[in-house]
């Protein structure tokens, strides 16, 4: 007996993909291949191995960029959370970066660092770091006072308070920030592909567009979206598993 929510999900997927299929057959636009054509193209890309090679290329700047952003971002975030002076100095930059359209800086990055993996990694970092820093610093600042008092009452040193109380307490929010950072990093990676040099998946998209091989283009885009969503969902599940009940240790 399938659950109701699963049935509805499948149903709505059918509706959407069905609508795709029908409206493209209605010939609204020559650049609008049918759902099945696109899926066929996706299949071809998969068995030819093209898509795996492409993703390996695309993921390089993404993975490296996210890792760098994580280490530097969490480090800066913790420092900002703990030091009022550093907070005053550095927070405004990240606050502006959060609401600003950072994509506008891409032409600048290209000018300064050329077209290559350095530029792309840099773009990923710019997109991912603000949210990581701000989430981390917020979590550190919001550590429950009574837990810090508790540690002090049992004679902990400053260092012990940071590593045994503040950081564990902030971990769920830091992890959520990382998840958002990865999401922003994805956008950065794709922008980098489409704007800087298409290698990887961006290449499939650009090339198939130029050769009017629309099914392949749609296939590539479909795969990006599916992969990104799946990956982020996995991260969310990991987050729920790791931090179950983490906000319920104090007061009922």
């Amino acid at each position: 007996m399938i659950s109701r929510s699963l049935t509805l999900k499948l149903l709505s997927a059918l509706v959407i993909f069905g609508a795709w299929e029908i409206s493209s057959r209605a010939g609204i636009n020559y650049a609008f291949p049918t759902f099945f054509e696109s899926m066929l193209a996706l299949w071809n890309l998969t068995i030819s191995g093209q898509i795996f090679v492409a993703y390996a290329e695309t993921l390089k700047p993404l993975v490296v960029g996210v890792l760098i952003s994580t280490f530097i971002g969490v480090g800066i975030g913790v420092w900002v959370g703990l030091s009022e002076k550093f907070d005053w100095l550095v927070s405004p930059i990240f606050i502006i970066m959060q609401s600003a359209p950072l994509a506008a800086l891409i032409p600048l990055v290209i000018m300064a660092y050329g077209i290559g993996i350095t530029s792309k990694t840099f773009v990923v970092c710019i997109m991912a770091m603000p949210v990581i820093v701000l989430n981390t610093s917020g979590a550190v600042k919001n550590t429950p006072t009574s837990m810090i008092e508790m540690a002090r009452s049992f004679l902990s040193t400053e260092r012990e308070v940071i590593f045994k109380i503040i950081i564990p307490s902030a971990s769920p929010v830091i992890f959520a920030g990382l998840r958002l950072g990865v999401s922003a990093g994805f956008i950065g990676a794709i922008l980098a592909e489409l704007k800087i040099t298409p290698t990887g998946v961006g290449d499939i998209i650009s090339y198939s567009r130029m050769t009017a091989d629309y099914p392949s283009m749609y296939a590539a885009i479909f795969s990006i979206i599916v992969l990104a969503v799946l990956f982020l969902n996995v991260l969310e599940r990991i987050e729920k598993y790791l931090f179950a009940g983490n906000d319920q240790g104090y007061v009922s």
């Binding site: 609401s99 994509a103 800086l105 999401s183 956008i187 990676a189 794709i190 969503v229």
Partner: protein, 251 residues
């Protein structure tokens, strides 16, 4: 942070950073970093030029157009999802999916289907903003306290009265929060759209300036964009705060 006992307000470190920028610029540390003052003078030069005004107005049209559709479609959809369980279960997975999906990937599709012009950019902007507006509206509607609904009924309120006098205000803090984030996303959307489609608005200016390495010009429009985005975002935040005093804490 305090210096000599006086409390320094929040964003004042930017003055320091501005000074640093000026100094580094004058020292000509990098070709790509002109002094802040020359950027301002360039801005003063170009802000009334035809190209700049056209870019600004094209961007504004795309931005407000996109935001308009996002609100006009998003808020009603959010309300329906908040009130109707069936529609909610049907649509929520998709809304969540598009929230986290890298929407940038869809831009090539839009370019191909709707051409290189303003239409595509408006659609990109709408797509970037609409999901969070839907989600926040839905949340605002869902969290309307059952007691308020009962209270309205017990005093015999007509549906339109109940909506206008009670439900609207009860859901408003969340909705404004959604609009604020939607706004920021719309800005990102309109810029990303222009970057990739590059024939209109600031996108074309970016192309122009970067191909000619006109650094001061380039930074000038970046500063304008960032300042606009930040200012309006803060204005919306202040607006949200006026309704915040009665917003219930979520989660």
């Amino acid at each position: 942070m305090r210096i000599f006992g006086i409390k320094l307000p929040n964003m004042t470190s930017l003055i320091l950073w501005g000074l640093l920028w000026e100094i580094l610029g004058r020292m000509e540390v990098s070709f790509f970093l002109p002094p802040l003052s020359s950027i301002f003078t360039t801005l003063a030069d170009i802000y009334d030029s035809k190209a700049f005004i056209r870019a600004l107005s094209e961007t504004a049209v795309a931005f407000f157009g996109g935001l308009f559709y996002a609100l006009v479609i998003g808020i009603p959809v959010g309300i329906f999802m908040g009130k109707n369980r069936f529609i909610d279960e049907l649509l929520l997975p998709w809304v969540n999916m598009f929230m986290s999906a890298p929407l940038t990937a869809l831009v090539p599709v839009l370019m191909v289907l709707f051409g290189f012009g303003l239409k595509s950019i408006i659609i990109v902007t709408t797509l970037f903003a609409i999901w969070i507006i839907i989600l926040n509206t839905r949340a605002g509607v869902k969290q309307i306290n059952r007691s308020l609904v009962d209270m309205a009924n017990s005093f015999g309120a007509k549906p339109i009265d109940a909506f206008v006098k009670i439900y609207f205000w009860a859901a408003l803090p969340e909705i404004i929060g959604g609009i604020r984030i939607g706004f920021i996303r719309a800005v990102k959307g309109v810029i990303i759209g222009q970057l990739l489609i590059s024939i209109v608005g600031f996108g074309s200016l970016f192309e122009l300036y970067s191909s000619r390495f006109l650094m001061s010009h380039f930074w000038a429009i970046i500063l304008v964009l960032f300042a606009l985005a930040f200012t309006i975002s803060e204005l919306l935040a202040m607006l949200a705060k006026r309704f915040d005093y009665y917003a219930s804490k979520r989660g």
